[in-house]
Symmetry: C2
């Protein structure tokens, strides 16, 4: 499925993009005056193949998994919070629920690696690869087959939504400890230094931060992930939910659905996706710039310019949900504004 999905990802539709650009130039505003809204409208036209795609069916898929590396004391919160927050998502009480409601989006939780049994629930997809990754300071986080399994779980989830008429998807994550594998992936795939791409996550102090940097260094020394082989990187120092997010992005691209990439963890998934299928990058929209220092490095590596700079650092897909109305606004202004001739407005002097 992985190979097939990657092959299904094709370049953006240049004809639709030219049509969007042409219409932007006729609308009652100075050319370019809507800035990023204009470029977004052109990108969405290229993704969907039309200038006026419906964007009403919206989903945030929150991939969840646990991390063996939490044994090294790299998080401010206990791993028990992962399943507790999944239940919070299913009960509608988390930030992502509130923000998705505001954005007219459903929340779907994808369990690819939570270290707890979770109840059946209509909004929960059970696709557990294993109950948490291995502690990657001792050896690989997962096998290569498990990495593929996690990616394919994300692909399956988004493809199922696509079959039901999905127009716009956001990625989200839940997994105590998951800034650590995200920083590791960032260091390997962008070549940046570990200290440069490691932050304070949910709120560790400086001593814990120094330990976190050393933990990542030990993990890279032990596992020697191959920067030319994204599956090797994901397997050795990644996480199941990060793999699933890569799969959501690749699956969205294969289905020509715009995908809002949330924060630091989601962008780690985006790095894996772009390394597996470079064309997938054109289907990504960066929702926001997190306070995690590695996020900027990741986004620059992917050449993604985020919509928001709001100092968010929550994950869950919260930035993606918050950005959905902006993406919708981009396409709606393109289609609903009057042209100079329709409105009898004079052009330039």
């Amino acid at each position: 499925m992985l190979e097939k999905t990657i092959t299904a990802i094709t370049p953006l539709d240049q004809k639709a993009m030219a049509a969007a650009q042409d219409r932007q130039a006729q609308l009652t505003k100075p050319t370019g005056a809507l800035g990023r809204l204009e470029t977004l409208s052109v990108q969405i036209a290229g993704i969907t193949g039309r200038i006026d795609p419906p964007l009403t069916e919206r989903v945030v898929i929150v991939a969840a998994g646990d991390h063996g590396v939490t044994a090294e004391g790299i998080s401010a919160y206990p791993s028990a919070v992962t399943p507790q927050m999944v239940l919070n998502f299913l009960n509608g009480g988390a930030a992502i629920n509130v923000l998705a409601r505001q954005a007219g989006a459903r929340v779907v939780v994808l369990d690819v690696g939570v270290a707890a049994d979770l109840p059946d629930h209509p909004d929960l997809i059970k696709a557990k690869v294993a109950p948490g990754t291995n502690n990657f300071t001792k050896g690989p986080a997962m096998t290569r087959n498990q990495a593929i399994q996690a990616i394919e779980a994300g692909m399956t989830a988004v493809t199922r939504e696509a079959e039901q008429g999905l127009h716009l998807v956001g990625t989200g994550d839940m997994g105590i400890g998951n800034t650590t594998p995200s920083s590791a992936i960032c260091a390997v795939l962008t070549g940046a230094g570990i200290a440069e791409v490691t932050g304070h996550g949910t709120g560790i102090d400086d001593a814990a931060w120094q330990n976190k940097v050393m933990v990542i260094q030990r993990a890279l020394d032990k596992n020697q992930p191959d920067p030319q082989d994204p599956l090797d990187v994901l397997a050795k120092v990644g996480g199941f939910e990060i793999g699933a997010i890569a799969g959501i992005i690749l699956g969205a691209a294969a289905n020509r659905i715009p995908v809002l990439v949330d924060g630091f963890i989601s962008t780690a998934g985006a790095l894996i996706a772009a390394a597996l299928a470079p064309l997938s990058r054109d289907y990504m929209i960066a929702a926001h710039r997190s306070v995690e220092p590695g996020h900027k490095i990741m986004q620059q590596h992917l050449n993604l310019d985020p919509i928001f700079h709001l100092d968010l650092r929550l994950g869950e897909g919260t930035g993606a949900a918050l950005a959905m109305p902006v993406v919708v606004a981009a396409t709606v202004t393109l289609n609903e504004m009057a042209t100079f001739s329709e409105a009898a407005v004079s052009g330039r002097l």
Copy 2:
């Protein structure tokens, strides 16, 4: 009315702000993880005096006026576009109409100085001070009394909305040539150099930009506006719609209504408002950072951190409308998220 409104502006409600801050700390997320959404929710509590204000009644007030200084060739578009665009607003075809609809806001147009007769329309407030300002390279743009009249027209417009239950207001502008007075106001009130705060507006070329800088220099030399007297600055090198925007901001503050300040022209109005009533600054929310170079200088002078960096340069209140869902999201997350105890989620290690 001006004096009375300024006196009615009082500090933010510290008790409501403390209550909002306290609740933020109990919600199921690491403290501070929602970044600017958290500080916005606290500011809105301080403005409204409650942590759960309704924010459903939303209006963007677009102040419109013409500028005698267009005779100096400082704009890429003819002044005829001002009334043409007002008609476009009233017909629902402009970017602000589309974005306000998306944001669940009404658009009200406030004519304080359009150089044309406009038809009666339920969404148009007729409060013309004069049909355009005077060319301020030859003398003052308007009299001091006209400056007060423009400000009071903005106050009256927002107070009328407040009486009808307004919860959230955005400022907007229309007026061909109005980046020129905005740059002049910025230079006088922030002390920055003219070339530093002058941009390409709707799209003039470099030769026209050099002329624009010289026009502003001549206007300041001729009129000698007093930086300590904001009414003098507005009268000598301002615009009617800029005065009206200052009035909208002051009126919103007096009525304890959060006000989203749009782009470069609206922020020129905010500079006047803050100079007249420093407490009004606490009621302002900066919607976005325009590509006009003076906008950053204005926002830094006001200590306002914009929600968006989207390279917008359209005005009309488009950035304010686009930011409304973010402001709503800030208050809604504060109120609708579950607390750690409600959701049985573990705290920090």
